[in-house]
Amino acid sequence: MTSVGTTSTRQPGAAAPQALAAAHADAERHLPDQPDPLMEALALNVYYGDFHAVHNVNLVFGKNEITALIGPSGCGKSTVLRCLNRMNDLVPGARVEGEVNYHGLNLYTRDVDPIEVRRRIGMVFQKPNPFPKSIYDNVAYGPRVTGMKVDSMDDLVEQALRGAALWDEVKGKLKESAYSLSGGQQQRLCIARTIAVRPDVILMDEPCSALDPIATSRIEDLMMTLREEYTIVIVTHNMQQAARISDRTAFFTAQPDETTGNRTGLLVEYDKTRQIFSNPADRRTEDYISGRFG
């Protein structure tokens, strides 16, 4: 195919992925070859009614690592993420097959309470969604509803806000509405709210897609800090972001069904982020990260 009227200087190919790999903020960080499995998805299949959304995904999420799920729209990466804390239970008609193990326990066995699961495995959403309450009450909401035993709620709120690198900006106006904050601050408030219930896994569903570059960079810095204490799984559309912050990357793609044409998401490749961005094993991964499709 020839393009008429434009002279493209952009050469998609080998150069881009290497640049991305070099972007990794701490390339020196030691990463074991095999992740220490805090969570794993085994033969995970998700259906919405008759629609087969995710096909046979096997993934391991390493303790104190950031795992990025990337891929084109409709590849099922958000669906996989929402299986990890059973948020998919809330979607009418959703059905999950396979196992999601958390500390070796399958979250989808009968006697597991999804409420308890969501307390241990927190979630940050795409659009900042603070409650229409004060900043303080936003953070205190989780501990209150889960009946957490806390000596001092004030201390807990401060700790959580410090943990989300928001304390200095809001310490003088804790009683003000959360809606008085900027978008980036609101998203950090949502992170503070999540860590206030002391989870050990934090799931993030495109947490920066509604934010400007400066707010994004602050959230990314925050995630690198949070990694010390939490296991983080992030879905992102931004490949630079995945390259910058994640330790391991899983690439998903959507494959149309031959008979129905429905697009089912499947896992193509999962490896260390550096490996994925510098030397992907699968042709489809290479095409995606070099910008040839998606």
Binding site: G5, G93, N129
Partner: protein, 303 residues
């Protein structure tokens, strides 16, 4: 694959056509005139009604109207004291019956019911139909219910409240559902993702956010109920009462009933009193609606 050379884009006009941005074709002018006429007609009718009533009733908008009971001996001093008090009792009792029930039903349908189950769909269908049932039918229902629970005297406050509560229940349920639906899913997701139960989420997030919408809908429903006479007549509510209602089991009369009675009387004094009572009733409705507007403007949440 061969790609055709791109077509030259058609020459863009360099001058903008003058005009005032209004559609001036005869058909649209005719249409707009029709719309204005409909609006004007509605307002003219309403204004005529209010003005003639106000002029008719003005002589009797005196203290006696509020302090005196209905009088057959002195038609010029007859009063709506029993009706005004009765209507107030009736409204409070109606609200107490209908509001909790309506909110609970709406909360169930929006937050907990699986909309794909046949019984929930049946309930939905019934709700839509209930809103269209004539008010007399609710009066019959209330009579039937009262006799079921063993009360043959139906002309009491709780009987009227029952009929009116049934009458406005569908309206309350429908408006509450709208208010609940307006609370963004993100808020529910955020609450649930923190480990809150669906019940906690409904109680602590959804309901408080929906309160402005719910109260507006409820007040508007009540202001519809306040003017109802038909179901009360069916219950046999007295047209002339010479005592204050003093409880839910007390016999009573209501403003619309008194108006109904007075307009049917032959003496002109009663007709004047009826017009005055209508003004009182209208003022009550307007106050309720004003309250609804105030709540909507001051407590509405913007997401």
């Amino acid at each position: 694959m061969a790609v055709a050379a791109p077509q030259r884009a058609p020459e863009a006009p360099t001058q903008l056509r003058p005009g005032r941005g209004r559609d001036r074709s005869p058909l649209s002018l005719f249409f707009v005139a029709g719309l204005w006429l409909s609006l004007a007609l509605a307002i003219v009718f309403l204004m005529t009604l209010i003005l003639t009533t106000a002029i008719d009733g003005a002589p009797r908008l005196d203290a006696n109207l509020f302090t005196e009971y209905d009088s057959t001996l002195f038609p010029e001093k007859t009063g709506a004291r029993a009706g005004i008090l009765g209507t107030m009792w009736l409204m409070v009792a109606t609200a107490l019956l209908a509001v909790p029930l309506g909110i609970a039903a709406a909360l169930y349908l929006e937050e907990f019911a699986d909309g794909r189950r046949w019984y929930n769909r049946l309930i939905e269908l019934n709700l839509q139909n209930l809103a269209a049932v004539p008010s007399v039918i609710y009066g019959m229902l209330a009579v039937a219910f009262m006799s079921l629970v063993g009360r043959n005297q139906t002309d009491i406050v709780i009987g009227g409240a029952l009929a009116l509560a049934l009458l406005i229940l569908p309206v309350i349920i429908i408006t509450t559902r709208e208010a609940i639906r307006a609370v963004p899913t993100e808020i529910r997701d955020a609450s649930l993702a923190l480990g809150a139960t669906p019940w906690q989420t409904a109680w602590r997030q959804v309901l408080p956010s929906a309160v402005p919408g719910i109260s507006t809908g409820t007040i508007l429903a009540l202001s519809r109920a306040i003017g109802e006479a038909a179901p009360l007549l069916l219950l046999g509510v007295a047209v002339s009462v010479r005592f204050d209602p003093n409880g839910l089991l007390s016999a009573f009369t209501a403003l619309p009933i008194q108006v109904f009675n007075w307009t049917a009387a032959s003496q002109d004094e009663y007709k004047t009193a009826a017009a005055a009572a209508i003004i009182v009733l209208l003022t009550m409705v307007l106050l309720l609606n004003g309250l609804a507007i105030y709540i909507r403007n001051h407590f509405q949440r913007r997401w």
